[in-house]
């Protein structure tokens, strides 16, 4: 990502931000000392389950909420105290929030009109935006006459029309059906590429986050757990929550036998020894938790050949791949995911004893 000496410029700098909401049951800590730097022209995703604080953080950047402590900088300038209409930042709302009494063109031109731009300039920008989101034919419709996907495009065009420095997207795809969602994911990536605007995207869908983002920040309970590229987050989850939230995961217990050069020799609780990468911040001695992604755990018909062995408890066919649920000696279930090819016969059957081969680099030590 970093090319030589030129470090990418920071678009949004979130500096030790905390936010507490008072409610009937007492105070809810929505954000707990979150610090984060979002780079320019980046597709950045805030990922976490509902109630993790990701939307609060987005609303803070938009100016709809104000932090109890900490600062938010936009290109080095403190915008914490500015109201939403003074921030060169626009939002795509989860509900789209299109103005029902205005036409598509009226909605898209609204921001520029409020900025006091000339009529001709507004009209030109509206035309350009309609072309960008491929909605030229529907410029005089009202939002109520549009489908969900079309409303989504209008909401995007409306937020992009004033050329914001940063575009905030609050779960914009959650109301769309699967096929449309896939289409819009590609569309969003294209728009981000074509406009060169920094996108900050909030979602609870880890698949969406992995496929679309340049970088992801995983949040839980108002705290930031891990920030990194999709590959880093998936391959090297920092802790149990991240590993569990992103993709399917097998957790195993192990003891550290020896360490050296960023690697560790482990003895799994079930007996066999294996090797694993030792990331920064992970414990280098004693009992640790390790993760094995299902696609890194291969099956072999010979129980003796595998690192571990067990009995096939269940087989679930998914089309592209098949999930094998293997009951280990410890009564835990380990999932193995194997891609389907046309020529392989179903060689495994329920109840069969199988060996599990852990691929090189499959075992990853967690922080907790």
């Amino acid at each position: 990502m970093e090319r030589g000496a030129s470090k990418p410029a920071v678009a949004i700098d979130i500096d030790g931000v905390s936010k507490v909401f008072a409610s009937a049951e007492g105070a809810v800590r929505a954000l707990d000392d979150v610090s984060l730097a979002i780079r320019e022209n980046e597709f950045f995703t805030l990922l976490g389950p509902s109630g993790c604080g990701k939307t609060t953080l987005l609303r803070l950047i938009g100016g709809f909420e104000h932090a109890d402590s900490g600062r938010i900088l936009l290109h080095g300038e403190d915008i914490s105290a500015l109201p939403p209409y003074r921030r060169p930042v626009n939002m795509v709302f989860q509900s789209y929030a299109l103005f029902p009494h205005m036409t598509v063109a009226g909605n898209i031109g609204f921001g520029l009109e409020m900025l006091g731009r000339q009529k001709a300039e507004v009209a030109a920008a509206v035309d350009q935006m309609l072309r960008l989101v491929q909605m030229e034919g529907l410029r005089n419709r009202r939002p109520g006459q549009l489908s969900g996907g079309q409303q989504q495009r209008v909401a995007l065009a409306r937020a992009l029309a004033p050329r914001p420095r940063v575009l905030l997207l609050d779960e914009p795809l959650s109301a769309l059906d699967l096929k449309l969602r896939k289409e819009m994911q590609i569309e969003l990536k294209r728009l981000q590429h074509e406009t060169g605007i920094t996108f900050i995207f909030v979602t609870h869908d880890q698949g969406e986050a992995l496929t679309m983002s340049d970088r992801i920040a995983v949040m839980s309970d108002g705290r930031l757990l891990q920030t990194g590229t999709p590959r880093e987050i998936y391959d090297r989850p920092a802790d149990r929550f991240v590993a569990n939230f992103i993709g399917e995961t097998n957790f195993l217990q192990a003891d550290v036998v020896a360490t050296g050069a960023g690697r560790a020799r482990l003895q799994l609780a079930l007996g066999p020894e294996t090797e694993a990468e030792l990331p920064d911040g992970a414990p280098s001695s004693g009992r640790v938790t390790v993760v094995v992604r299902p696609e890194h755990a291969m099956l072999t018909p010979d129980p003796e050949q595998g690192t571990l062995s067990g009995v096939l408890e269940n087989i679930v066919y998914f089309g592209t791949d098949t999930h094998y649920y293997v009951k280990l000696a410890s009564c835990e279930t380990l999932i193995s995911r194997i891609q389907n090819t046309r020529d392989d016969e179903a060689v495994y059957e329920k109840g069969q004893r199988v060996g599990i081969v852990l691929r090189k680099g499959a075992v990853q030590i967690l922080r907790d």
Partner: protein, 316 residues
Amino acid sequence: MVDMAGRDRSARTAAQAATVARRREVSRCWLLCAPALLVLLLAASGPLLIVLAYSFLKPGGYGGVQWELSTQAWVSVLLQRDIFDDTLGLADAHLSIFWRSLRLASLTTLLALLLGFPTAYFIATRPEARRAHWLFVITIPFWTNLLIRTFAIMEVIRNNGIINSALLGLGVIETPIQMLFTDFAIMLGMVYVYLPLMVLPLYASMDKLDFRLVEAAYDLYASRFQVLRRVIVPLVRPGIIAGSILVFIPALGAYVTPRVLGGGKNMMLGNLIELQFGQGRNWPLGAALSMTLLLLVMAALLVYVRSAARPADRDG
């Protein structure tokens, strides 16, 4: 086969029976509705027709009507006849009373809107649980008789009332300000009386307003005033229309408030009509004035709804 035909026939008769039963049900429904419809017809349309009929008759000597067709009452609604001036000299004042009624009713509606809009907005933006309390407070004046409330206002604004006494006591003024028996007093009274009728429909509209749209407008660089003008007002337009109609109609025909607070000389249409049926003993003229009031209300509503129903956004 015989069995089949039989079943077919019995099916047909069953369908016919069902149709007959349904028809009977519909007619029975009409029968059940009849008392209500009859009351509506007699109580609403009946008197109106009588008033309409009376307006085309001649006045009786001691009130009532003479059963003789005449358009004289309608003529004297607008035109005055100096020579045959037997209506206590009021005929020449009709136009000024129409004008005062229209002006005061319009001003009352406008003032009620200006006061009611922020009030309704305030209530609609409170937490859900608190809104009922505020609505309750708004409806409290309804609990007291209109006459008593009007006399209470009189007590506040008369020359030795609360306001004048306080201002005199503080030395702000040397002689009391004449507020009672002015158009101002009538308007004050009507705004006070009709304000809830403005607030409630406005609140009903604002309650449905999606405040995320307000956020979206702020996000798109709209200032507070622009958000109000471009988003909130167009979206609560139905409430504005309903509230304005609910205030304007009774204000135009108001009787008690101008009678108590306006004194004898600041008459409104309602008082003029009462005068014709009472002391004036000119029932046909009273009837014609009543029909005129009805026409004024209908014309005003038509103009208002027409102008309010035009598309809110012209730029699209």
